[in-house]
Amino acid sequence: MTRRSLRGEVAVAGVGETTYYRHGQSPDPEMVLCLKAILAAAADAGIDPRDIDGFASYSNDRNEPAVLATALGTHELRFANMQWGGGGGGGAGAMANASAAIATGLADCVVVYRALAQGQFGRFGQGARAATLSGDNALTNPYGQMSPAQYYAPKAVRFMHEHGIGQEALRAIAMASYHHAQANPRAVMYGRPLTEQGYDDSRWITEPFHLFDCCMENDGAAAIILVSAERAKDLKQTPTYVLGAAIGAGYRVHSTQAGFATPDLASSHFKTVARHLYEMAKVGPKDVDVVQCYENFTGGVLMSLVEHGFFEPEEAMDFLKLENLIAPTGKMPLNTSGGNLAECYMHGLELQIEAVRQVRGQSTSQVPKVDVSLAVAGPMVTPVSTIIFGSEASL
C-alpha cells in the first residue's frame, strides 16, 4: 500500500521578511511589502525569484498570485492556492498546501506568503461600522461582541473555569514572547521588556485578556519558499524538512462570530488535528524541541499546548512558568522570536519562519540542537492548522 504522507518529501529552501512596523507605519504599499518578502526569501534560498512557480497564502491575502507572478516575471505559474477561512489559523495550512503541491508534482518551487498593512486597510481589532447586520453577526454585534478578543474570551474563560487555571498561566505565555523579543532586533517590541508587574498593571481588553494577552496589529510581510527535499540539498541553506502537517477542526465548530454555539467551546480545536499531525510526522510531543504557538490571545496558546499533548489541563499552572518557556534552558521554549505578541503580528507566518530558523540554528534565541520544531497556526478558529519541521537527523 502506498504511504500517503508529506514526511521528508519537502523542505524549506528560504525564508524572508520585511522590516516589521507598527500598524500604519509602513512606508511601502502592502503589495510592495509582499514582493520584498518574497525576494528576501528567494535571496535566502539562493534561487532566482522567477523560478518560483507556485503561490500559496491564507486569510484572503489581498495579493493574488496572478498579480504577483506578473509583477515578478515568473516564468511559469503552476499553483495558486488560498487556504479557506480561519484567518491566522491557515498559516500552517498554506505551508501544507504548498508542500502537497510539491510532493504531488503540481509545482516545483512554491512560496507561502502573507502581507498585511493594517494601516492601509481595515484593522482586525475594530468592530463593524454597518448600520444593520444579519446572520451570525446579528447574534453578537448588537451585544457589543464584535472583535476577535471578545469572540474568543469566553472560550478561555470556560477552559480556565473547568480546570482551575489562573491568570498567572496566561501571564507566563505573554512574558515568554516578550522575553524572546528582547534578543530579536526584528521585533517590534525589541527594547520593550515586560515585567510581571507591567502585565498585572496593564488594562483589561476583555476578561481574561489583559493588553499583553493580545497580539499586536502590524504592517509587514513574510515569505517562505518550499522545494522538494531532493532539490533543497543543492541550495544555499541547510534544508529544513516538513515532517508532518494537518488542517481542520473537530465536530461542528462554528464561525468565529457564532463560536458561542460550538459544542466544544473550551477548545482551540486542535484535538483531532494534532493527532493527525503527530501520526504523519511520526513523532510525539516529547520529541518536540521547541514550540512556536500562535498567540492571537494567550488563552488560545494555553488550550493549543494542551491539545498538542504537552501537559494536561490540570498541570497548566505548574508547566506554564516563565523558566520553562524560555530558550535555551527551558524544558519547552515557546515563541522564541517574540511571536505575534512581541515580534510582529504577521498573521503567524513569522512563527513559521522562526520554527525553520530554530532547525537551522539561526534563531536569536537559539535552542541547542533542534531536530523537531513545531509551529501551531491560529487557534480557536476553524479550520486550524499545525506543522512540524525537522532536521536531516529527524528523518
Partner: protein, 151 residues
C-alpha cells in the same frame, strides 16, 4: 427610552438575512417569544439557524418556542471599546447562555445589571426581551438576567 437599554444606541441593528434564514427568531423576539430550530423527525435542536438538520440532513426544520431561561456557560467582561458607540461607555458583560431544556443550544447576550457584578458560571438566568421600538427598523434583543433567587 434608552435608559431601558443595556448598551448605548448606535450599534449595528440586527435584521434577518435577505434569504430569511433567521427571520422566525427575530420575528418571535419582537413578540417576546424565544424560538430555535428543531428537527421534526428526531427532536434534535440546533442554533444558530441552519438550512439543514445536522443530524439527519433533512431540509424540513421546525421553529419551536422554548422557555426563555438557561444557565451561564461562559462570559467575558469587555473593557476596551472597539465601536464608536461604546467609546467612554465603560465595561459591559457578555454571557454565553446554555439552554439545558432545548438540547443545550447556546445563545449570546448581555447580563443585565451592574456591569461590574460577579459572573457565576452555572447560575440560572432568564431572558429579558429588550424592545427597540423606535429603531429603524425596530428590533428586539434577547438579554439575560440572573433568575429570581439565583443571586
Amino acid at each position: 427610552m434608552s435608559d431601558n437599554f443595556y448598551l448605548p444606541p448606535g450599534l449595528p441593528i440586527p435584521v434577518p438575512e435577505r434569504n430569511g434564514l433567521s427571520a422566525p427568531y427575530w420575528h418571535a423576539a419582537r413578540e417576546g417569544v424565544l424560538k430555535v430550530q428543531r428537527n421534526p423527525r428526531t427532536g434534535v435542536y440546533q442554533w444558530p439557524a441552519q438550512w439543514i438538520c445536522h443530524d439527519d440532513q433533512g431540509f424540513d426544520i421546525d421553529w419551536v418556542e422554548v422557555e426563555p431561561k438557561g444557565v451561564i456557560y461562559s462570559w467575558t467582561r469587555v473593557w476596551h471599546p472597539v465601536h464608536p458607540a461604546l467609546k467612554d461607555h465603560g465595561p459591559y458583560i457578555v454571557v454565553v447562555v446554555e439552554l439545558p431544556h432545548a438540547g443545550k443550544v447556546r445563545m449570546l447576550g448581555n447580563l443585565l445589571g451592574d456591569p461590574r457584578q460577579e459572573v457565576v458560571i452555572g447560575a440560572p438566568v432568564e431572558a429579558v426581551f429588550e424592545h427597540h421600538n423606535d429603531a429603524d427598523p425596530p428590533f428586539t434583543l434577547v438579554q439575560w438576567r440572573y433568575a429570581d433567587g439565583a443571586r
